[in-house]
C-alpha cells in the first residue's frame, strides 16, 4: 500500500509536466494552424524544401 505514496506524487509530477508541455506548445503557435502540418508529409519533396522551410518557421 505504501507504494501509493510514491506513485501519486509521481503522477502529479507527470500531470504538471503535461500541463507545462501544453502551455509551451500553445505559446509556440502549435495550436494556431491545425490543418497544414497534416499535409506536409504528403509531399514527395526531397530537395531544398523541408530543411529550409522548417528553419524559417517560428
Amino acid at each position: 500500500m505504501n507504494i501509493v505514496f510514491v506513485l501519486i506524487p509521481l503522477s502529479l509530477v507527470l500531470v504538471a509536466l503535461a500541463g507545462w508541455a501544453f502551455f509551451w506548445s500553445v505559446n509556440h503557435d502549435q495550436f494556431d494552424d491545425l490543418d497544414t502540418p497534416a499535409l506536409i508529409p504528403l509531399s514527395d519533396e526531397t530537395s531544398s524544401g523541408p530543411a529550409e522551410g522548417e528553419s524559417k518557421k517560428p
Partner: protein
C-alpha cells in the same frame, strides 16, 4: 479528366484551351494568363504538390498589380512593425486563402525568398504574418509574390499584429485544459474517497488523498476560474450581479468548505465538484467564443474595402500617391479606372459611373454628375474621376457600417442571455435554500447542518442550467457551419424558426448570374452554327454573361479574327470579320428598322438580320426543390426584384410562385417588407446581397447566398456559403431541432433540481451522491445537445470539394 477546366482554378476553359501551362512534363489547360502565370510559378518553385493536396480550388488568378505605393515611408509606418535587429513584420489579409493547401503553398513559396525569416499562415483568419529583412526586399515585392500565387494581398494595420483574438483564444484554451486536467485528477482521487467511504479507509490515508485533491484543485480555482472571479468582481462593483457572481460564489464556497473539511477531518470534500463545475462552464464559453470569432472575419473583409493608397493632386495638379490616412478634408483626389474611392467626397470632374454594390447593393453602376456624392469603398467603373474629399477616416459611411457590424457581433444571443439570467435567479434561490436548510438543521440537529447544506449546494446544479442553452446553440452552430451555413448574428437561429414569409430576390438568388441559350434561329442564308461562331468572335474578350453563354454555345474557340470591335453601352457590339461588318445586340441596335423585344439578341450583317438568339436566366440547381419545400411548410413566398416584369414573371412561372413584384426599387422593397411585418408576418429575405443589402437590413431575418459581396454577407444574419440555396431548408430543420433540444435541456435541469434539492435539504442525499448527481445532470445536458446532428435531415449533400479535384497529380 475533363480537359476543359482550368488546371489552376478549376473554372471552365472557353473553347479548346488556347492557353496551356507547362507543369512538370505535361501541358495543362488554363483559363487565363493570370492562372497560367500562377501555375507555372508554382511549378518552377517545385511546389506542384499543391495541386494534389488542396481540397478547394483557388480563385481565378488575377493579373499582378502594382504594389510599389506600399513602399512609401508614411504608409509603412502604419502597416509595418519594425522589430529589433532590423527585421520588419507585417500582417496581410489574403483574399482567396481557403484551405490548408493554400497555406502550405504560401509557406513554401515565401520560404524560398531569401529575405523572409518567418511566416505564419492562419487559414481561418485568412491572414499571413511575415517577418522579413526590409533592406534586401521591399514590401511591394512580398505583396507582388503573394499576388503572383493568385491571392489578393491586403496589408492590415499594425494593431492586427498584436492579435487580440488570437490571445483571447489561446488563454481560453489554456484555462480550459488546466480545468480539464485538474478535473480528471480531482475525480480520480475523489473515487478513492468514495470507495473508502463505502469500504472503510484509514483516516490518515483519507486525509492524504484529500490533501492531494486540494493540490490539484488549486490551479483550477486560481487559474482556470479566474475569469469568473474577475467577472464577478466587475459585476459587483457595477452593482449589477450577472452570471459570473453566482458562479464565482458557488466555486469559492465549495472550495473553501472543502478546505475546512480537510483541515478538521470532516465528513466530505468536494474538490471534484468544484473543478468539474469550472471545466463545464469554461467549455460552454469556449465554444461560444469560437463561434463569435468566426463571424469577426467578416469585419476584416469590410475593412479591406477601404483602400490604403490614394492619388492626391498637389497645388500644381500633379498626382502623387499618398496613404489614405494622410488625406485631409478639401484635398483633391484622382480615382483611376476600376479603383476604389478612398474617402467620402463630391465629384469634381464632369461625370462618372460608380459601382456601389458593396455598400448599397445596387448592382448596376450608377451615374454620378459633378457635385454629387461619392462614397468610400465604392468603385469607379469608368474613370479617372476627380473628387474633393469631404469626410475621412472614421467619419465615412463605410466606417460607420464596419462599427455597426462590430457592435452586433459583440451581442450574445437573446436565448443565451435568458439562460444566463435564469441561472442567476436559480443560484440566488439556491443560496437562500441552502441558508434556510442550514438554519433549519441547526435547530433540529446541529451535527448534520453542514453536510445537509453542502449537499443542497452541490446537488443543485447551476451548470446544467447554465449549459442548457449555450451547449445546444454551440452544437447547432457547428453543425450548420459543417453544412456551409454560417450564422452571423446572435438571434438568427430564433428568427429562422419564426420566419413564415420568404421574400426572394431573383438575380443571383433563384437564378444564376449566367444566362443559358434557349434557342437560336437562323434567318438569313448562313447556318445557325456559323452565326454562333460569328457571334462568339464578336464577343471575344467580353466578360458579360451574354458573351459567356454565346461563346459556350459556339463550342471550340478560334483565334480572334474580329477587327474594329466597338461596344455600344445598352446596345451591343459591332465589328468586322473577314471584311464583313456585323452587329450583335438588341434588335433596335443591330437593325434600325425593327421593333424591340427584351430578351432576344440579334446578329445582323450588312444585308440585314442573320440570326436570333433567345437567352434566358439559368435557374439555380436547387431553387425548385427549396421553394417547394418552403411551400410545404406553409410559408408565404414572394419574389421582389428590380428586374423587368417579363423576366421576373418567367422565373416566377417556372417556380410556381404567384406573388412577385418587378422593377422594385430598394425603398419600395423596404416598404413592402414593412407592410408584411405590420400584417404580422415574420419575414425572411433571401438575396445574393449585391442588389438588396437594404432589404436584407429591413427583414426579420436576412439570408445571403454565398459568393455575393462581402459587405452584403455581413448585413445578413445567415450566409449560405457554397452557393447552395438548399442550405436554407437544412438550416431551418437544424434550428427547429435546436429549439427542441434547448427546451428539453431546460426542462431536464428543472426537473432534476426540483427533485434533488428537497431530498438533499431533508438530509437524504449524502454529499458524495450529490456530487455524482450534479455531474450526471451536466453530462446529460451536453449529451442531449450532441443529438442535434442526428435530428437534422440530411438534404442533398454538396459534392465534396475533394472529389471534384481528383485530377492526376503532375509527375
Amino acid at each position: 479528366m475533363p480537359s476543359l477546366t482550368c488546371f489552376h482554378c478549376g473554372e471552365p476553359v472557353a473553347g479548346d484551351a488556347p492557353l496551356v501551362a507547362r507543369v512538370g512534363a505535361l501541358d495543362h489547360p488554363v483559363c487565363c494568363i493570370g492562372c497560367r502565370a500562377a501555375a507555372e510559378w508554382i511549378a518552377s518553385l517545385g511546389l506542384q504538390d499543391y495541386y494534389r493536396l488542396r481540397d478547394t480550388p483557388p480563385p481565378r488568378a488575377v493579373a499582378v498589380g502594382d504594389y510599389s505605393a506600399w513602399d512609401r515611408q508614411q504608409l509603412q509606418r502604419m502597416y509595418v512593425h519594425q522589430r529589433d535587429g532590423g527585421d520588419a513584420e507585417v500582417c496581410v489579409l489574403l483574399e482567396g486563402l481557403r484551405c490548408s493547401a493554400c497555406s502550405w503553398l504560401i509557406e513554401r513559396a515565401l520560404s524560398a525568398m531569401p529575405s523572409v525569416r518567418e511566416i505564419g499562415v492562419s487559414v481561418p483568419g485568412k491572414r499571413v504574418r511575415i517577418v522579413w529583412q526590409p533592406q534586401t526586399e521591399s514590401l511591394s515585392a512580398l505583396l507582388g509574390a503573394l499576388a503572383h500565387l493568385g491571392y489578393v494581398p491586403h496589408p492590415l494595420d499594425r494593431e492586427s499584429l498584436n492579435d487580440v483574438v488570437e490571445r483571447e483564444q489561446r488563454t481560453a484554451l489554456k484555462r480550459l485544459v488546466v480545468a480539464g486536467l485538474g478535473m480528471m485528477q480531482a475525480m480520480m482521487f475523489a473515487i478513492v474517497l468514495y470507495a473508502g467511504a463505502l469500504e472503510g479507509i484509514e483516516p490518515s490515508t483519507r486525509d492524504f488523498f484529500r490533501w492531494i485533491g486540494l493540490l490539484v484543485t488549486i490551479p483550477v480555482v486560481f487559474y482556470a476560474a479566474r475569469p469568473f472571479f474577475a467577472g464577478a468582481w466587475r459585476e459587483l462593483r457595477a452593482r449589477r450581479p450577472g452570471m459570473d457572481t453566482p458562479v464565482a460564489f458557488a466555486v469559492a464556497l465549495v472550495f473553501v468548505a472543502s478546505i475546512v473539511e480537510t483541515l478538521r477531518g470532516g465528513a466530505q470534500v468536494y474538490f471534484d465538484s468544484a473543478s468539474m463545475f469550472v471545466f463545464l462552464l469554461l467549455g460552454g464559453r469556449y465554444l461560444e467564443m469560437r463561434a463569435r470569432h468566426r463571424a469577426a472575419d467578416v469585419v476584416d473583409a469590410l475593412a479591406r474595402l477601404q483602400p490604403a493608397v490614394a492619388e492626391r493632386l498637389d497645388a500644381n495638379g500633379v498626382p502623387e500617391s499618398v496613404g489614405v490616412h494622410e488625406l485631409q478634408i478639401g484635398d483633391c483626389v484622382v480615382v483611376a479606372d476600376g479603383a476604389t474611392v478612398p474617402a467620402d467626397g463630391e465629384l469634381v470632374s464632369a461625370e462618372c459611373r460608380v459601382d456601389e454594390s458593396l455598400l448599397s447593393g445596387e448592382s448596376k453602376p450608377l451615374l454620378r454628375h459633378r457635385g454629387e456624392r461619392l462614397i468610400a469603398g465604392s468603385i469607379v467603373v469608368d474613370g479617372p474621376a476627380q473628387m474633393r474629399v469631404a469626410r475621412v477616416g472614421a467619419e465615412t459611411t463605410l466606417s460607420a457600417i464596419v462599427r455597426m457590424i462590430g457592435r452586433a457581433q459583440q451581442q450574445r444571443p437573446r436565448w443565451s442571455r435568458y439562460g444566463d439570467r435564469a441561472a442567476g435567479y436559480f443560484v440566488c434561490a439556491l443560496l437562500m435554500v441552502t441558508v434556510v436548510t442550514a438554519a433549519a438543521w441547526l435547530v433540529i440537529d446541529p451535527a448534520r447542518a453542514f453536510a445537509a447544506s453542502l449537499a443542497v449546494l452541490v446537488v443543485a446544479c447551476p451548470c446544467a442550467f447554465a449549459l442548457a442553452v449555450p451547449a445546444a446553440l454551440a452544437r447547432s452552430l457547428t453543425v450548420l457551419a459543417q453544412r456551409g451555413v454560417l450564422v452571423l448574428t446572435p438571434n438568427a437561429i430564433e428568427s429562422l424558426i419564426r420566419a413564415n414569409y420568404f421574400v426572394f430576390d431573383k438575380t443571383g438568388t433563384l437564378s444564376e448570374r449566367g444566362l443559358e441559350l434557349v434557342s437560336s434561329e437562323a434567318i438569313g442564308p448562313i447556318s445557325v452554327e456559323a452565326c454562333l461562331r460569328i457571334a462568339a468572335q464578336l464577343e471575344s474578350g467580353s466578360t458579360h454573361p451574354i458573351a459567356d453563354s454565346l461563346r459556350a454555345a459556339a463550342g471550340e474557340a478560334e483565334p480572334a479574327r474580329a477587327q474594329n470591335l466597338r461596344r455600344v453601352a445598352g446596345g451591343g457590339v459591332e465589328g468586322d470579320i473577314d471584311g464583313e461588318h456585323y452587329r450583335l445586340g438588341r434588335v433596335q441596335f443591330a437593325s434600325a428598322n425593327e421593333a424591340g423585344d427584351d430578351d432576344r439578341i440579334v446578329l445582323a450583317g450588312s444585308r440585314g438580320i442573320l440570326a436570333r438568339f433567345e437567352l434566358r436566366e439559368a435557374l439555380r440547381d436547387d431553387a425548385t426543390a427549396t421553394v417547394d419545400e418552403l411551400r410545404k411548410s406553409r410559408g408565404g413566398i414572394e419574389i421582389l426584384s428590380g428586374d423587368s416584369h417579363s423576366r421576373v414573371a418567367a422565373i416566377a412561372g417556372r417556380l410556381g410562385i404567384d406573388r412577385f413584384g418587378s422593377r422594385v426599387h430598394p425603398d419600395q422593397k423596404l416598404a413592402r417588407l414593412a407592410q408584411l411585418r405590420a400584417a404580422g408576418m415574420n419575414v425572411a429575405v433571401i438575396g445574393d446581397g449585391v442588389n438588396d443589402a437594404p432589404a436584407l437590413a429591413g427583414a426579420d431575418l436576412a439570408v445571403a447566398v454565398g459568393g455575393g459581396a462581402e459587405l452584403a454577407k455581413s448585413s445578413a444574419d445567415i450566409v449560405l456559403a457554397g452557393d447552395r440555396l438548399g442550405g436554407l431548408i437544412e438550416a431551418r430543420a437544424i434550428a427547429i431541432a435546436t429549439l427542441r433540444i434547448m427546451r428539453q435541456n431546460l426542462l431536464w435541469s428543472l426537473v432534476y433540481n426540483a427533485a434533488a434539492v428537497p431530498l438533499a435539504a431533508i438530509g437524504w442525499v449524502p454529499p458524495w451522491l450529490a456530487a455524482i448527481g450534479m455531474s450526471l445532470s451536466s453530462l446529460a445536458v451536453i449529451a442531449n445537445s450532441l443529438r442535434i446532428r442526428a435530428a437534422a435531415p440530411r438534404a442533398t449533400a454538396p459534392v465534396p470539394a475533394a472529389a471534384r479535384n481528383l485530377t492526376p497529380a503532375p509527375a
